[in-house]
């Protein structure tokens, strides 16, 4: 948003100062990255003891290779390894721990009468890393939580993101914009059932895997190799193999339901599934409780420097200490709209490097600060009221949280008094017919 500023005359007369038009300003940086698909780098997972790395995304399972290596070379077994939410993160964590401390500290050891490769021996020591160890238990819980949150964020992103742009696997000319549309298209037009879009996550990877399989002429369901594409297509069509095999656990990570419970839910065939329970069925207290959704504190930035604070009182304190500027005193007696103008005025002047009291222009921030410190101009010029212009109704920074804390809201009864300086007219309130809605309802209206 840019403000159109009229030219004004200086106190000396004759000289007009043109103020520049500035584009939209923001405190928060634009976050343009998509939500991540994994907690840590899963392509170069290191072994906990040596420097071998494993790629968890390779077709010959990197996870199995790592576990085999741990057993054969380092004689370590991880208990309930299938229950660990994110094995790469787990490995990173324990690598860090084992680099400083001995293995025996965290693992229980057992003696067996054979070597890892099966030949008999006497009293060979093996180590078991399980959640009996409290640190391990904590790590597992934490990983489960983090993984679930990651998956939910990714799922939410994939539901609405419009920058997907992928061509259909079968037809040439279809391009979907969102992932749910793509999956639905594959089902409705080509009968390829990957799953309902709302139950899938990491869709990009899933499509890559499916595309890979099809291009290598391997059937998606039974994994048999065929000699050419028409044969493959015919096979998949006739046998009803145009879907994911529910028994194949490789695809488990693409389905949201698998991240939920400790026990994996059993697969119920579509025909036998009961009708999804009516939405009003269970409504315990925790269902409609709004108060457990917690977010982060919003940051507010100081008017004169870049010091951020989460509490407005601490920020005002900072301004008193560092800049000798008492906000409450300065705006004492002003109504809400005047305070808004004051804040926007100060922000603007600081941005274009002008002193707020005398209006002197500086080239950079440091000189301006020096001037303000020396001349003690951390105050407003009460004579000219340069800040009392209508252009300062508009916020200088689009996400300026300072403007949300300008008056003390005592209770709801304060609403009655209308502020001076504003005339607000309400819209007329007859049950006026919304033409768009009326035309829609007339479509549905049947005699």
């Amino acid at each position: 948003m840019s403000t159109n500023v009229p030219t004004k005359n200086d106190a000396e007369g004759g000289e007009t100062s043109k103020t520049t038009i500035i584009g939209p300003l923001n405190f928060a940086k634009e976050s343009s990255t998509d939500p991540p698909t994994s907690l840590v780098n899963e392509r170069t997972v290191p072994c906990m003891f040596c420097t071998n790395v494993y790629d968890f995304h390779s077709p010959d399972s990197g996870a199995d290779q790592l576990l085999a290596h741990l057993y054969l070379i380092h004689r370590l077994v991880v208990a309930d390894v299938k229950e660990v939410a994110c094995l790469p993160s787990y490995c990173y964590y324990w690598k860090d721990k084992f680099s400083n401390e001995p293995v025996e500290k965290y693992c229980s050891s057992m003696l067996l009468n054979q070597l890892p490769d099966g030949t008999t021996s006497q009293n060979e020591k093996y180590f078991l890393l399980s959640d009996v160890e409290p640190l391990d238990y904590e790590v597992r819980q934490r990983l489960r939580r983090e993984k679930l949150e990651l998956v939910l964020t990714r799922h939410q992103f994939e539901r609405t993101d419009r920058t997907f742009h992928r061509g259909c696997l079968y037809c040439r000319d279809y391009r979907a914009e969102t992932r749910p549309e793509y999956i639905s298209h594959l089902y409705t037009k080509h009968f390829l059932l990957l799953g309902k879009p709302e139950h899938l996550v990491f869709v990009d990877e899933l499509i890559d895997v499916v595309q890979d399989k099809l291009s290598q002429l391997i059937c998606l369901f039974c994994e048999k190799l065929f000699k050419d594409r028409p044969t493959l297509k015919e096979h998949m069509r006739k046998k009803g193999h145009k879907r994911i095999n529910p028994d194949n656990h490789y695809y488990d990570r693409f389905f949201l339901v698998n991240y939920r419970l400790k026990q994996k839910p059993e697969y119920v065939p579509i025909a036998k599934r009961k009708e999804e329970s009516r939405v009003f069925a269970s409504d315990s207290d925790s269902d409609s409780d709004w108060s457990d959704w917690n977010g982060e504190e919003q940051q507010t930035t100081c008017l004169f420097c870049t010091h951020p604070e989460t509490s407005i009182d601490r920020l005002k304190q900072h301004m008193v200490e560092k800049h000798k500027f008492n906000f409450d005193q300065t705006v004492n007696g002003m109504n809400f709209y005047q305070r808004v103008k004051v804040v926007n005025f100060i922000r603007r002047q600081m941005y274009i490097r002008k002193c707020i009291a005398c209006g002197e222009q500086y080239n950079d921030y440091d000189n301006l600060c020096k001037h303000l410190d020396e001349t003690d101009h951390y105050l407003l010029d009460k004579e000219t009221n340069a800040w009392d212009q209508p252009e300062y109704f508009f916020p200088t920074y689009e996400d300026d949280q300072f403007l949300c804390h300008l008056e003390v809201v005592e209770n709801e009864k304060d609403d009655a008094a209308q502020e001076e300086g504003s005339i607000v007219i309400s819209e007329s309130v007859n049950a006026s017919i919304n033409l768009a809605a009326e035309s829609l309802s007339l479509e549905n209206f049947r005699m």
Binding site: M1, E149, L152, H155, Q156, R159, C171, Y187, T188, F191, K196, H199, D228, R229, P230, K233, K238, G240, K242, L256, R260, L261, K262, I270, V279, D287, D289, W290, S291, W293, N294, G295, F336, V340, F393, D400, C404, L406, E407, V409, E412, D414, D415, Q418, S422, I423, V424, I425, S426, E427, S428, V429, A431, I433, N434, A436, A437, L440, S441, F445
Partner: protein, 273 residues
Amino acid sequence: MADAAPARGGFRGGFGSRGGSRGGRGGRGRGRGRGRGRGGKEDSKEWVPVTKLGRLVKDGKIRTLEEIYLYSLPIKEFEIIDFFLNRLLKDEVLKIMPVQKQTRAGQRTRFKAFVAIGDSNGHIGLGVKCSKEVATAIRGAIILAKLSVVPVRRGYWGNKIGRPHTVPCKVSGKCGSVLVRLIPAPRGTGIVSAPVPKKLLQMAGIDDCYTTTRGSTTTLGNFAKATYAAIAKTYAFLTPDLWKDLPLNKTPYQEFADFLDKTNKSAQRVIEM
């Protein structure tokens, strides 16, 4: 290329006809039937209203949603809202969070979905639903949000040109410890607030507004609810232009009493309003 073209032709040829004979394909059964599962699209079942208001709406006796608001009739079926505002309503999932409960068999995780719904032109609703599956929670939350749709009164700053763009007066809403106050702003200000109320105000159709907040605004749930309460209050506030006495009209139940009697079969159970 050599692979692609005949593959496509063969693929299409395998079905015997180009594109659209869905009925033909479905009818051939065999392997095809298995692929269809529970139907390609969402089943659009016909709505059978169970409340008196629902029956009046379905038969077109009530022309606008505003008539229902005028008489403060409680809306118990979300299809009523759908009937008037179907394609205009856009829903947005604010958050999906997992909630856990400790049971004897371990921890039971359910998903809670917070959904806001609005047409960016005077209607806003909020819903929350908890369920074992994400999709069910979202669907349930959307239904509850539709049931909570309220009208939003807007106003003009200064001169009455164009469409109304800001709140008509200072209104405040409270939920838990969070108090949100909405203050009228001149055209072009935009919405000056934290991200959560900003989304709600945009969906309600308010273009310009200042906000002031108090309380623990980290509880975003209460923050959203307080904003919704504040927006809903815009029609509750008695401004001077509403002082005029309007003639007392009959409620739709009285007006269409004959129609309701006629269509009410005695064997059918109807929820009395």
